[in-house]
Protein backbone atom coordinates (compact mmCIF):
# COMPACT_ATOMS: atom_id res chain seq x y z
CA UNK A 1 0.00 0.00 0.00
CA UNK A 2 2.51 2.65 -1.06
CA UNK A 3 -0.08 5.45 -1.17
CA UNK A 4 -1.41 4.76 2.28
CA UNK A 5 2.16 4.42 3.55
CA UNK A 6 2.97 7.94 2.41
CA UNK A 7 -0.31 9.36 3.75
CA UNK A 8 0.48 7.75 7.04
CA UNK A 9 3.92 9.34 7.07
CA UNK A 10 2.39 12.70 6.32
CA UNK A 11 -0.19 12.32 9.08
CA UNK A 12 2.50 11.30 11.54
CA UNK A 13 4.78 14.16 10.67
CA UNK A 14 1.91 16.65 10.84
CA UNK A 15 1.03 15.25 14.27
CA UNK A 16 4.65 15.58 15.36
CA UNK A 17 4.73 19.22 14.30
CA UNK A 18 1.47 19.97 16.08
CA UNK A 19 2.09 18.21 19.39
CA UNK A 20 4.65 18.66 22.09
CA UNK A 21 5.45 17.68 25.66
CA UNK A 22 3.03 15.29 27.34
CA UNK A 23 0.78 14.95 24.28
CA UNK A 24 3.72 14.07 22.02
CA UNK A 25 4.98 11.47 24.48
CA UNK A 26 1.51 9.93 24.78
CA UNK A 27 1.18 9.74 21.01
CA UNK A 28 4.52 8.01 20.59
CA UNK A 29 3.63 5.36 23.17
CA UNK A 30 0.11 5.01 21.82
CA UNK A 31 1.34 4.29 18.30
CA UNK A 32 3.48 1.42 19.58
CA UNK A 33 0.56 -0.01 21.56
CA UNK A 34 -1.79 0.39 18.61
CA UNK A 35 0.43 -1.89 16.55
CA UNK A 36 0.27 -4.92 18.78
CA UNK A 37 -1.63 -4.19 22.00
CA UNK A 38 -4.84 -5.99 22.97
CA UNK A 39 -8.10 -4.87 21.35
CA UNK A 40 -9.32 -3.29 24.59
CA UNK A 41 -6.21 -1.13 24.70
CA UNK A 42 -6.64 0.03 21.11
CA UNK A 43 -10.28 0.92 21.77
CA UNK A 44 -9.19 2.93 24.80
CA UNK A 45 -6.52 4.79 22.81
CA UNK A 46 -8.97 5.45 20.00
CA UNK A 47 -11.26 7.13 22.54
CA UNK A 48 -8.49 8.90 24.45
CA UNK A 49 -7.15 10.68 21.37
CA UNK A 50 -9.55 13.58 21.79
CA UNK A 51 -8.69 14.10 25.45
CA UNK A 52 -4.93 13.84 24.90
CA UNK A 53 -4.58 15.78 21.65
CA UNK A 54 -7.65 17.96 21.48
CA UNK A 55 -9.60 18.93 18.44
CA UNK A 56 -7.31 21.52 16.95
CA UNK A 57 -6.95 21.47 13.18
CA UNK A 58 -4.26 19.18 11.85
CA UNK A 59 -3.05 21.76 9.36
CA UNK A 60 -0.84 24.43 10.92
CA UNK A 61 -1.88 27.99 10.11
CA UNK A 62 -0.46 28.91 6.76
CA UNK A 63 -0.72 25.20 6.27
CA UNK A 64 1.38 22.52 4.67
CA UNK A 65 -0.33 20.72 1.85
CA UNK A 66 -1.00 17.02 2.12
CA UNK A 67 0.20 15.99 -1.30
CA UNK A 68 -0.02 12.27 -0.68
CA UNK A 69 -3.69 12.26 0.24
CA UNK A 70 -6.09 10.58 -2.18
CA UNK A 71 -7.87 13.09 -4.36
CA UNK A 72 -10.77 14.72 -2.58
CA UNK A 73 -9.72 13.68 0.93
CA UNK A 74 -9.34 17.00 2.71
CA UNK A 75 -6.73 16.25 5.36
CA UNK A 76 -6.40 19.98 5.95
CA UNK A 77 -9.90 19.83 7.44
CA UNK A 78 -9.04 17.02 9.81
CA UNK A 79 -8.41 17.52 13.51
CA UNK A 80 -5.51 16.15 15.54
CA UNK A 81 -7.73 13.42 16.96
CA UNK A 82 -8.83 12.40 13.45
CA UNK A 83 -5.22 12.06 12.38
CA UNK A 84 -4.13 10.16 15.47
CA UNK A 85 -7.02 7.69 15.14
CA UNK A 86 -6.23 7.10 11.49
CA UNK A 87 -2.57 6.43 12.25
CA UNK A 88 -3.55 3.98 15.00
CA UNK A 89 -5.65 1.97 12.56
CA UNK A 90 -3.02 2.10 9.83
CA UNK A 91 -0.32 1.01 12.29
CA UNK A 92 -2.49 -1.90 13.35
CA UNK A 93 -3.16 -2.91 9.76
CA UNK A 94 0.57 -3.27 9.17
CA UNK A 95 1.00 -5.74 12.00
CA UNK A 96 -1.94 -8.13 11.85
CA UNK A 97 -3.63 -10.09 9.09
CA UNK A 98 -6.61 -8.53 7.39
CA UNK A 99 -9.32 -10.53 9.17
CA UNK A 100 -7.98 -9.55 12.57
CA UNK A 101 -7.65 -5.97 11.41
CA UNK A 102 -11.21 -5.89 10.10
CA UNK A 103 -12.57 -6.95 13.51
CA UNK A 104 -10.55 -4.28 15.28
CA UNK A 105 -11.52 -1.58 12.82
CA UNK A 106 -15.21 -2.44 13.08
CA UNK A 107 -15.03 -2.41 16.87
CA UNK A 108 -13.52 1.09 16.82
CA UNK A 109 -16.45 2.30 14.74
CA UNK A 110 -19.23 0.40 16.46
CA UNK A 111 -18.14 1.25 19.97
CA UNK A 112 -17.20 4.81 19.11
CA UNK A 113 -19.05 7.93 20.15
CA UNK A 114 -20.11 10.40 17.46
CA UNK A 115 -16.65 12.04 17.29
CA UNK A 116 -14.89 8.70 17.05
CA UNK A 117 -17.26 7.60 14.31
CA UNK A 118 -16.57 10.79 12.40
CA UNK A 119 -12.82 10.22 12.63
CA UNK A 120 -13.31 6.64 11.50
CA UNK A 121 -15.48 7.54 8.51
CA UNK A 122 -13.12 10.30 7.36
CA UNK A 123 -10.27 7.78 7.30
CA UNK A 124 -12.01 4.71 5.89
CA UNK A 125 -10.73 5.30 2.36
CA UNK A 126 -7.17 4.98 3.69
CA UNK A 127 -7.72 1.56 5.27
CA UNK A 128 -6.65 -1.61 3.50
CA UNK A 129 -9.46 -3.09 1.34
CA UNK A 130 -11.81 -0.14 1.99
CA UNK A 131 -14.53 -1.85 -0.09
CA UNK A 132 -14.87 -4.41 2.70
CA UNK A 133 -16.45 -1.68 4.85
CA UNK A 134 -19.03 -0.65 2.27
CA UNK A 135 -22.09 -1.93 4.18
CA UNK A 136 -20.91 -0.15 7.32
CA UNK A 137 -20.39 3.18 5.54
CA UNK A 138 -23.78 2.93 3.79
CA UNK A 139 -25.39 2.27 7.16
CA UNK A 140 -23.57 5.26 8.66
CA UNK A 141 -25.40 7.47 6.14
CA UNK A 142 -28.70 6.56 7.84
CA UNK A 143 -27.63 8.53 10.91
CA UNK A 144 -29.58 11.52 12.15
CA UNK A 145 -26.40 13.04 13.56
CA UNK A 146 -25.53 15.54 10.86
CA UNK A 147 -21.76 15.72 11.52
CA UNK A 148 -21.56 11.92 11.20
CA UNK A 149 -23.38 12.07 7.89
CA UNK A 150 -21.07 14.87 6.75
CA UNK A 151 -18.04 12.78 7.64
CA UNK A 152 -19.10 10.40 4.86
CA UNK A 153 -20.72 12.82 2.44
CA UNK A 154 -18.32 15.73 2.49
CA UNK A 155 -14.67 16.08 1.50
CA UNK A 156 -14.52 12.30 1.37
CA UNK A 157 -13.85 10.35 -1.83
CA UNK A 158 -15.23 7.09 -0.43
CA UNK A 159 -18.87 7.37 -1.61
CA UNK A 160 -18.04 8.32 -5.18
CA UNK A 161 -15.48 5.56 -5.37
CA UNK A 162 -17.37 2.71 -3.74
CA UNK A 163 -21.11 3.39 -3.37
CA UNK A 164 -23.47 1.69 -5.83
CA UNK A 165 -25.57 4.19 -7.76
CA UNK A 166 -28.68 3.84 -5.58
CA UNK A 167 -26.77 4.53 -2.38
CA UNK A 168 -24.82 7.37 -3.92
CA UNK A 169 -28.09 8.96 -5.05
CA UNK A 170 -29.59 8.55 -1.58
CA UNK A 171 -26.57 10.30 -0.12
CA UNK A 172 -26.96 13.25 -2.50
CA UNK A 173 -30.69 13.48 -1.74
CA UNK A 174 -30.02 13.37 1.99
CA UNK A 175 -27.52 16.20 1.57
CA UNK A 176 -30.18 18.25 -0.25
CA UNK A 177 -32.68 17.46 2.49
CA UNK A 178 -30.41 18.37 5.35
CA UNK A 179 -28.95 21.52 3.80
CA UNK A 180 -25.47 20.11 3.20
CA UNK A 181 -23.88 21.90 0.25
CA UNK A 182 -23.63 19.63 -2.76
CA UNK A 183 -20.25 21.02 -3.81
CA UNK A 184 -18.82 19.31 -0.73
CA UNK A 185 -19.62 15.88 -2.20
CA UNK A 186 -16.45 14.60 -3.85
CA UNK A 187 -16.92 13.28 -7.37
CA UNK A 188 -20.56 14.31 -7.70
CA UNK A 189 -20.15 15.50 -11.29
CA UNK A 190 -18.55 12.23 -12.32
CA UNK A 191 -21.18 10.09 -10.58
CA UNK A 192 -24.23 12.16 -11.55
CA UNK A 193 -26.77 10.05 -13.40
CA UNK A 194 -30.20 10.20 -14.96
CA UNK A 195 -31.96 8.60 -11.99
CA UNK A 196 -30.42 11.17 -9.63
CA UNK A 197 -31.58 13.96 -11.94
CA UNK A 198 -35.07 12.46 -11.84
CA UNK A 199 -35.05 12.29 -8.03
CA UNK A 200 -33.81 15.87 -7.72
CA UNK A 201 -36.43 17.10 -10.20
CA UNK A 202 -39.19 15.39 -8.19
CA UNK A 203 -37.77 16.88 -5.01
CA UNK A 204 -37.86 20.38 -6.51
CA UNK A 205 -41.49 19.84 -7.57
CA UNK A 206 -42.37 18.63 -4.07
CA UNK A 207 -40.77 21.71 -2.50
CA UNK A 208 -42.57 24.06 -4.86
CA UNK A 209 -45.91 22.33 -4.20
CA UNK A 210 -45.28 22.81 -0.49
CA UNK A 211 -44.49 26.50 -0.99
CA UNK A 212 -40.96 25.98 0.26
CA UNK A 213 -37.68 27.11 -1.29
CA UNK A 214 -35.69 24.82 -3.55
CA UNK A 215 -32.01 24.58 -2.55
CA UNK A 216 -29.97 26.89 -4.78
CA UNK A 217 -27.35 24.26 -5.59
CA UNK A 218 -29.80 21.58 -6.74
CA UNK A 219 -28.45 22.06 -10.28
CA UNK A 220 -25.36 20.05 -9.26
CA UNK A 221 -27.59 16.98 -8.95
CA UNK A 222 -29.28 17.64 -12.27
CA UNK A 223 -26.17 18.00 -14.38
CA UNK A 224 -26.16 14.44 -15.67
CA UNK A 225 -29.32 14.90 -17.69
CA UNK A 226 -27.01 15.51 -20.64
CA UNK A 227 -25.33 12.13 -20.16
Amino acid sequence: MPINESVRNQLQSALQVRTSGEAARWLQEALKEAERGPLERLLALYTEASMRLGRLPLAASGGESFAAAPEGLALDRWTLEDAARATFLLARADHVDFEAFEDVARACYEQGDAREQQSWLRAVVLLPAPDRFLALVIDACRTNILPVFEAVACENPYPSRFFPERNFNQLVMKALFTGVRLDRIVGLAARANIELARMATDFAAERRAAGRPVPADIGLALSSAAA
Binding site: E110, I138, D139, R142, T143, N144, I145, R166, N167, N169, Q170, M173, K174, F177, R198, M199, D202, F203, A205, E206, A209, A210, G211
Partner: protein, 290 residues
Protein backbone atom coordinates in the same frame (compact mmCIF):
# COMPACT_ATOMS: atom_id res chain seq x y z
CA UNK B 1 -63.53 18.51 20.24
CA UNK B 2 -62.35 14.97 20.96
CA UNK B 3 -59.39 13.91 18.89
CA UNK B 4 -57.12 10.96 18.21
CA UNK B 5 -53.45 11.32 17.37
CA UNK B 6 -53.04 8.21 15.21
CA UNK B 7 -49.25 8.41 14.98
CA UNK B 8 -47.14 9.72 17.84
CA UNK B 9 -43.98 8.31 19.46
CA UNK B 10 -44.76 8.96 23.11
CA UNK B 11 -41.73 7.00 24.32
CA UNK B 12 -39.74 10.11 23.35
CA UNK B 13 -42.10 12.58 25.03
CA UNK B 14 -42.51 13.95 28.52
CA UNK B 15 -45.39 13.87 30.99
CA UNK B 16 -45.88 17.60 30.23
CA UNK B 17 -46.70 16.53 26.67
CA UNK B 18 -49.29 14.05 27.93
CA UNK B 19 -50.86 16.73 30.11
CA UNK B 20 -51.02 19.22 27.23
CA UNK B 21 -52.40 16.64 24.80
CA UNK B 22 -55.17 15.61 27.18
CA UNK B 23 -56.05 19.25 27.85
CA UNK B 24 -56.23 19.93 24.09
CA UNK B 25 -58.78 17.14 23.63
CA UNK B 26 -56.69 14.14 22.59
CA UNK B 27 -58.29 11.14 24.23
CA UNK B 28 -56.62 8.30 22.34
CA UNK B 29 -53.40 7.80 20.42
CA UNK B 30 -51.56 5.20 18.40
CA UNK B 31 -47.83 4.78 18.90
CA UNK B 32 -46.19 3.03 15.96
CA UNK B 33 -43.00 1.09 16.53
CA UNK B 34 -40.20 2.94 14.80
CA UNK B 35 -36.49 3.41 15.15
CA UNK B 36 -35.00 5.34 18.02
CA UNK B 37 -32.97 7.91 16.11
CA UNK B 38 -29.98 5.63 15.99
CA UNK B 39 -29.68 2.00 14.95
CA UNK B 40 -30.17 -0.78 17.47
CA UNK B 41 -27.44 -3.40 17.46
CA UNK B 42 -29.07 -6.39 19.17
CA UNK B 43 -32.48 -8.01 19.04
CA UNK B 44 -32.82 -7.58 22.81
CA UNK B 45 -33.21 -3.84 22.30
CA UNK B 46 -36.26 -4.55 20.14
CA UNK B 47 -37.76 -6.90 22.72
CA UNK B 48 -37.46 -4.25 25.42
CA UNK B 49 -38.85 -1.55 23.11
CA UNK B 50 -41.85 -3.62 22.02
CA UNK B 51 -42.51 -4.52 25.64
CA UNK B 52 -42.48 -0.87 26.62
CA UNK B 53 -45.02 -0.08 23.87
CA UNK B 54 -47.51 -2.68 25.07
CA UNK B 55 -46.90 -2.14 28.76
CA UNK B 56 -45.17 0.81 30.33
CA UNK B 57 -46.11 3.45 27.77
CA UNK B 58 -49.75 2.36 27.81
CA UNK B 59 -49.77 2.75 31.54
CA UNK B 60 -48.12 6.14 31.36
CA UNK B 61 -50.79 7.37 28.91
CA UNK B 62 -53.60 6.06 31.07
CA UNK B 63 -52.37 8.18 33.95
CA UNK B 64 -53.35 11.22 31.89
CA UNK B 65 -56.69 9.88 30.75
CA UNK B 66 -55.41 8.96 27.29
CA UNK B 67 -55.94 5.55 25.70
CA UNK B 68 -52.77 4.19 24.19
CA UNK B 69 -52.69 1.76 21.27
CA UNK B 70 -49.64 0.74 19.31
CA UNK B 71 -48.45 -0.86 16.10
CA UNK B 72 -45.60 -3.37 16.06
CA UNK B 73 -43.25 -3.94 13.16
CA UNK B 74 -39.76 -3.72 11.74
CA UNK B 75 -39.16 -0.18 10.49
CA UNK B 76 -37.60 0.28 7.05
CA UNK B 77 -34.41 1.95 8.26
CA UNK B 78 -33.47 -1.03 10.38
CA UNK B 79 -34.66 -3.46 7.69
CA UNK B 80 -31.27 -2.88 6.10
CA UNK B 81 -29.39 -4.73 8.84
CA UNK B 82 -29.56 -8.27 7.48
CA UNK B 83 -28.49 -9.96 10.71
CA UNK B 84 -31.01 -8.17 12.91
CA UNK B 85 -33.95 -7.92 10.53
CA UNK B 86 -34.65 -11.64 10.46
CA UNK B 87 -34.42 -11.88 14.24
CA UNK B 88 -36.89 -9.01 14.68
CA UNK B 89 -39.34 -10.51 12.17
CA UNK B 90 -39.27 -13.73 14.19
CA UNK B 91 -40.38 -11.75 17.25
CA UNK B 92 -43.40 -10.19 15.59
CA UNK B 93 -45.96 -13.00 16.05
CA UNK B 94 -45.38 -12.89 19.80
CA UNK B 95 -46.11 -9.17 20.00
CA UNK B 96 -48.79 -8.87 17.30
CA UNK B 97 -50.98 -11.18 19.36
CA UNK B 98 -51.14 -8.72 22.24
CA UNK B 99 -54.08 -6.52 23.21
CA UNK B 100 -53.96 -2.97 22.01
CA UNK B 101 -51.76 -3.76 18.99
CA UNK B 102 -53.93 -2.33 16.23
CA UNK B 103 -51.74 -2.68 13.12
CA UNK B 104 -48.43 -3.93 11.78
CA UNK B 105 -46.03 -1.03 11.28
CA UNK B 106 -44.36 1.20 10.61
CA UNK B 107 -43.13 -0.72 7.62
CA UNK B 108 -42.37 0.36 4.08
CA UNK B 109 -39.53 2.02 2.21
CA UNK B 110 -36.82 4.40 3.36
CA UNK B 111 -33.79 4.17 1.08
CA UNK B 112 -35.91 1.93 -1.19
CA UNK B 113 -33.45 -0.97 -1.10
CA UNK B 114 -34.02 -4.63 -1.94
CA UNK B 115 -33.78 -5.54 1.74
CA UNK B 116 -36.51 -3.03 2.57
CA UNK B 117 -38.75 -4.49 -0.16
CA UNK B 118 -38.13 -8.00 1.14
CA UNK B 119 -39.12 -7.24 4.73
CA UNK B 120 -42.01 -5.02 3.65
CA UNK B 121 -43.37 -8.00 1.70
CA UNK B 122 -42.78 -10.42 4.56
CA UNK B 123 -44.61 -8.15 7.02
CA UNK B 124 -47.59 -7.81 4.70
CA UNK B 125 -47.83 -11.60 4.74
CA UNK B 126 -47.64 -11.59 8.53
CA UNK B 127 -50.32 -8.86 8.72
CA UNK B 128 -52.57 -11.05 6.62
CA UNK B 129 -51.99 -14.01 8.96
CA UNK B 130 -52.91 -11.86 11.95
CA UNK B 131 -55.78 -10.17 10.18
CA UNK B 132 -54.34 -6.75 11.02
CA UNK B 133 -54.24 -3.53 9.00
CA UNK B 134 -50.85 -2.03 8.14
CA UNK B 135 -49.32 1.38 8.74
CA UNK B 136 -46.95 2.25 5.90
CA UNK B 137 -44.15 4.79 6.24
CA UNK B 138 -43.19 6.65 3.06
CA UNK B 139 -39.63 7.87 2.55
CA UNK B 140 -38.43 11.42 3.08
CA UNK B 141 -36.20 11.24 0.05
CA UNK B 142 -37.60 10.38 -3.37
CA UNK B 143 -41.02 10.29 -1.77
CA UNK B 144 -43.17 10.23 -4.89
CA UNK B 145 -41.31 7.27 -6.37
CA UNK B 146 -41.36 5.54 -2.97
CA UNK B 147 -45.12 6.00 -2.75
CA UNK B 148 -45.62 4.57 -6.24
CA UNK B 149 -43.38 1.59 -5.42
CA UNK B 150 -45.36 1.06 -2.21
CA UNK B 151 -48.64 0.88 -4.07
CA UNK B 152 -47.16 -1.43 -6.73
CA UNK B 153 -45.95 -3.78 -4.03
CA UNK B 154 -49.32 -3.80 -2.23
CA UNK B 155 -51.06 -4.54 -5.51
CA UNK B 156 -48.66 -7.29 -6.53
CA UNK B 157 -49.59 -9.05 -3.28
CA UNK B 158 -53.27 -8.16 -3.65
CA UNK B 159 -53.22 -6.75 -0.13
CA UNK B 160 -56.68 -5.27 0.62
CA UNK B 161 -56.18 -1.53 0.13
CA UNK B 162 -58.82 -0.46 2.66
CA UNK B 163 -56.61 -2.08 5.30
CA UNK B 164 -53.59 0.09 4.45
CA UNK B 165 -52.78 3.53 5.85
CA UNK B 166 -50.07 5.21 3.76
CA UNK B 167 -48.49 7.87 5.93
CA UNK B 168 -46.50 11.11 5.63
CA UNK B 169 -48.23 12.33 2.47
CA UNK B 170 -47.67 15.70 0.85
CA UNK B 171 -49.16 17.64 -2.07
CA UNK B 172 -47.37 15.41 -4.58
CA UNK B 173 -48.26 12.00 -3.14
CA UNK B 174 -51.79 12.58 -1.83
CA UNK B 175 -53.57 12.41 -5.24
CA UNK B 176 -51.69 9.17 -5.96
CA UNK B 177 -52.84 7.59 -2.69
CA UNK B 178 -56.43 8.83 -2.96
CA UNK B 179 -56.57 7.13 -6.35
CA UNK B 180 -56.20 3.79 -4.56
CA UNK B 181 -58.37 2.32 -1.81
CA UNK B 182 -55.73 3.14 0.82
CA UNK B 183 -56.12 5.68 3.61
CA UNK B 184 -53.97 8.81 3.47
CA UNK B 185 -52.06 9.88 6.59
CA UNK B 186 -50.37 13.26 7.00
CA UNK B 187 -47.69 14.05 9.55
CA UNK B 188 -47.88 17.67 10.60
CA UNK B 189 -44.41 18.88 11.51
CA UNK B 190 -43.01 22.26 12.54
CA UNK B 191 -40.44 22.36 9.70
CA UNK B 192 -40.70 19.42 7.33
CA UNK B 193 -43.23 17.10 5.76
CA UNK B 194 -46.48 19.08 6.11
CA UNK B 195 -47.76 22.00 8.17
CA UNK B 196 -51.28 22.57 9.52
CA UNK B 197 -52.19 25.33 7.06
CA UNK B 198 -51.15 23.32 4.02
CA UNK B 199 -53.05 20.39 5.55
CA UNK B 200 -56.24 22.42 5.97
CA UNK B 201 -55.93 23.50 2.33
CA UNK B 202 -55.62 19.85 1.26
CA UNK B 203 -58.76 18.88 3.20
CA UNK B 204 -60.57 21.77 1.55
CA UNK B 205 -59.37 20.65 -1.89
CA UNK B 206 -59.79 16.87 -1.60
CA UNK B 207 -62.51 16.47 1.05
CA UNK B 208 -62.38 14.24 4.12
CA UNK B 209 -62.73 10.74 2.69
CA UNK B 210 -59.88 8.52 4.05
CA UNK B 211 -57.99 11.63 5.22
CA UNK B 212 -56.05 11.28 8.48
CA UNK B 213 -53.73 13.69 10.32
CA UNK B 214 -51.14 12.99 13.00
CA UNK B 215 -48.26 14.73 14.75
CA UNK B 216 -45.69 11.94 14.30
CA UNK B 217 -44.02 13.65 17.26
CA UNK B 218 -40.84 11.87 18.28
CA UNK B 219 -37.31 12.66 19.49
CA UNK B 220 -36.79 15.24 16.74
CA UNK B 221 -38.15 18.76 16.41
CA UNK B 222 -41.86 18.02 16.48
CA UNK B 223 -45.04 19.02 18.27
CA UNK B 224 -47.49 16.60 19.92
CA UNK B 225 -50.24 19.23 19.67
CA UNK B 226 -50.27 19.29 15.86
CA UNK B 227 -53.61 17.45 15.61
CA UNK B 228 -55.45 20.08 17.68
CA UNK B 229 -53.54 22.82 15.82
CA UNK B 230 -54.66 21.36 12.50
CA UNK B 231 -58.21 21.29 13.83
CA UNK B 232 -57.90 25.03 14.48
CA UNK B 233 -56.42 25.62 11.02
CA UNK B 234 -59.28 23.71 9.38
CA UNK B 235 -61.77 25.74 11.40
CA UNK B 236 -60.19 29.05 10.31
CA UNK B 237 -60.49 27.90 6.71
CA UNK B 238 -64.23 27.49 7.24
CA UNK B 239 -64.27 23.69 7.14
CA UNK B 240 -67.45 22.53 8.97
CA UNK B 241 -67.22 20.90 12.40
CA UNK B 242 -68.64 17.58 11.14
CA UNK B 243 -65.96 17.40 8.47
CA UNK B 244 -63.22 18.12 11.01
CA UNK B 245 -64.65 15.43 13.26
CA UNK B 246 -64.36 12.96 10.36
CA UNK B 247 -60.67 13.73 9.94
CA UNK B 248 -59.56 13.79 13.58
CA UNK B 249 -61.88 11.12 14.99
CA UNK B 250 -64.09 9.02 12.72
CA UNK B 251 -61.45 8.23 10.12
CA UNK B 252 -58.75 6.94 12.45
CA UNK B 253 -61.40 5.05 14.45
CA UNK B 254 -62.72 3.43 11.26
CA UNK B 255 -59.25 2.51 10.04
CA UNK B 256 -57.93 1.00 13.27
CA UNK B 257 -61.26 -0.66 14.13
CA UNK B 258 -60.43 -3.08 11.32
CA UNK B 259 -58.04 -4.69 13.80
CA UNK B 260 -60.97 -5.76 15.95
CA UNK B 261 -59.03 -4.36 18.91
CA UNK B 262 -60.00 -0.69 18.74
CA UNK B 263 -63.21 -0.61 20.73
CA UNK B 264 -65.30 2.43 19.84
CA UNK B 265 -67.69 2.00 22.76
CA UNK B 266 -64.71 1.78 25.04
CA UNK B 267 -63.27 4.97 23.56
CA UNK B 268 -66.35 6.95 24.51
CA UNK B 269 -65.14 7.01 28.09
CA UNK B 270 -61.60 7.96 29.00
CA UNK B 271 -59.73 5.40 31.09
CA UNK B 272 -60.33 5.93 34.79
CA UNK B 273 -57.51 8.04 36.13
CA UNK B 274 -56.25 6.78 39.41
CA UNK B 275 -53.20 8.88 40.03
CA UNK B 276 -52.06 6.68 42.83
CA UNK B 277 -51.71 3.74 40.46
CA UNK B 278 -48.26 2.52 39.87
CA UNK B 279 -46.79 0.23 37.27
CA UNK B 280 -44.72 -2.55 38.75
CA UNK B 281 -44.26 -0.23 41.73
CA UNK B 282 -42.75 2.59 39.71
CA UNK B 283 -45.00 5.63 39.88
CA UNK B 284 -44.86 7.98 36.91
CA UNK B 285 -46.54 10.65 38.93
CA UNK B 286 -44.02 10.82 41.67
CA UNK B 287 -45.71 13.81 43.28
CA UNK B 288 -48.81 11.71 43.83
CA UNK B 289 -47.05 9.04 45.80
CA UNK B 290 -48.57 8.51 49.21
Amino acid sequence: MKMIDPHVHMTSRTTDDYTAMAAAGISALVEPAFWLGQPRTTVGSFIDYFNSLVGWERFRASQFGIRHFCTIGLNPKEANNPKLAGEVIDLLPRFLAKDGVVAVGELGFDDQTEDEARWFTRQLEIAREFNLPVLVHTPHRDKKQGTIRTIELLRSLKYPEERVLIDHNNEETLPIVLNTGCWAGHSIYPNTKMDEHRMAALVKKYGVDRMIVNSAADWGISDPLKVPKTTDAMRSLGIPEEAIHEVVWNNPVAFFSQSGRFDVADLAEPPAVDRSLSYESNSVLRGERR
